[in-house]
Symmetry: C2
Subunit: 222 residues, 2 copies
DNA sequence: CGCGATCTGTAGCAAAAGCTACACGCTTTC
DNA sequence: GAAAGCGTGTAGCTTTTGCTACAGATCGCG
């Protein structure tokens, strides 16, 4: 029951009808993921819809030689749409999912979710909205990947992912994984950035020194 | 009215209720695209849902230096989901769309589509299914892009896009555009393929000579 | 304090990809 | 049948990226 309460902190699950709520309450399963736990493996059949309650999941692909690359993140209140996708089309999960930080996840069994989708406008909207958002993120990522060099992608990543104090707390190894490249490349690029006074680096973190300089790197035209 | 008939060749639009049909009939607009016509520009506000009746649309991104890269194709009976996406979230269109061959497209105005979505289960399913499919395609593409070299991507593209007779009728320039690279790179790779007896080339076309050899290139493990 | 583990900084070499330039052949067009 | 346009084949050079290797810095822990 506690998990149902957690889930109802989020908008779409508050508007459900009484019987839908009961249905949801019966099937719902909670799942705790420690940092770096693998939540879903590639090729695994998907058993339901995943809603992140707290923490953060990372969806990534893995190439034969071992390089990872982040496709996108799932933050609290968001649903793992890839799972949704597989759910509606009976596909195997096409990527890997790992907990970035310790996370709590609610698992709605496939059959239950499908029923909810048929009945509840809120769930239909949630589904469409989640899918749309993912499409948009994937498009942007795909565009970034082939219109820009690692230099630009790195600058962009630092700008987008850094905390509000302008500091990105992440090791170079992790950075490399997100960008789908190697630590050496990241170190090389960061050396340039430091030389130009754009950022400063220390163990486990990167601090932005020249915000606008970085932005110019990302979009040279403006 | 003729366009409505065309549209109803496709499953989801046959199951509509009487009033939905009327609503659809009133707003529907037909659009002819000649080969190489630009159907949608990047940044353009989206005025409705696009359903391809005949021909083929190509969705691609364009980088500052002029290189194109195909994101995915839209074949007859399919809907341009990106447009859907923008429609539901009030976004500007994030890519370019061009007619690969002469195409006929039905344009369902945004307001009409939203109403249909609220009422008709068939349209809800269509929407979710279309979005799901796109997500899947984008994921695959994204995975391909950063797990494989141009050599593998080219081999893959030839395998997937060639006609049933094993011939891909496309210039090297076009190939390069789809892969997001330059003609010279494509020519260089094809030279290797020809040397290994995998394909043969002639003006405007590439013929597969060794199907399994090509497949081994794409997925070396199997 | 010492030790192992982790993270960063650098260097050098090899492979991949991009860019420029040009020769040649086939089509279309005037 | 000459000229222009398009498509292919090739070469050489530069930049970017990937891989291997190693040195030094920092951290946590017993």
């Amino acid at each position: 029951m506690k998990i149902l309460d957690e889930l109802q902190r989020f908008e779409p699950f508050r508007k459900l009808g009484e019987d839908s709520r009961t249905l949801l309450g019966q099937g719902l399963v909670g799942k705790q993921c420690a940092r770096a736990d693998m939540a879903l493996h590639k090729g695994q059949p998907v058993s339901g819809a995943y809603v992140v309650l707290s923490g953060r999941l990372r969806v990534f692909s893995l190439s034969p030689n071992g390089t990872e690359a982040t496709l996108y993140f799932i933050d609290p209140g968001e649903t793992c749409v890839l799972a949704l996708n597989c759910l509606f089309n009976d596909l195997l999960y096409p990527a890997w999912v790992q907990a970035e930080t310790a996370s709590q996840v609610a698992l709605i069994p496939g059959a239950v979710y499908r029923k909810l989708f048929e009945r509840e406008t809120a769930i239909q909207n949630l589904t469409v909205h989640t899918l749309s958002t993912l499409v948009f993120r994937l498009m942007s990522e795909l565009e970034l990947v082939h219109t820009s060099h690692h230099k630009q992608r790195l600058a962009n990543f630092i700008l987008i992912q850094s905390a509000s104090d302008g500091v990105l707390r992440m090791t170079q190894q992790q950075l490399a994984q997100h960008l789908g490249t190697t630590r050496e490349v990241v170190a090389r690029l960061l050396r340039d950035f430091v030389a130009k006074g754009l950022v400063s680096t220390c163990r486990g973190a990167i601090a932005i020194r020249d915000l606008f300089g970085l932005r110019r790197l990302v979009s040279p035209g403006e």
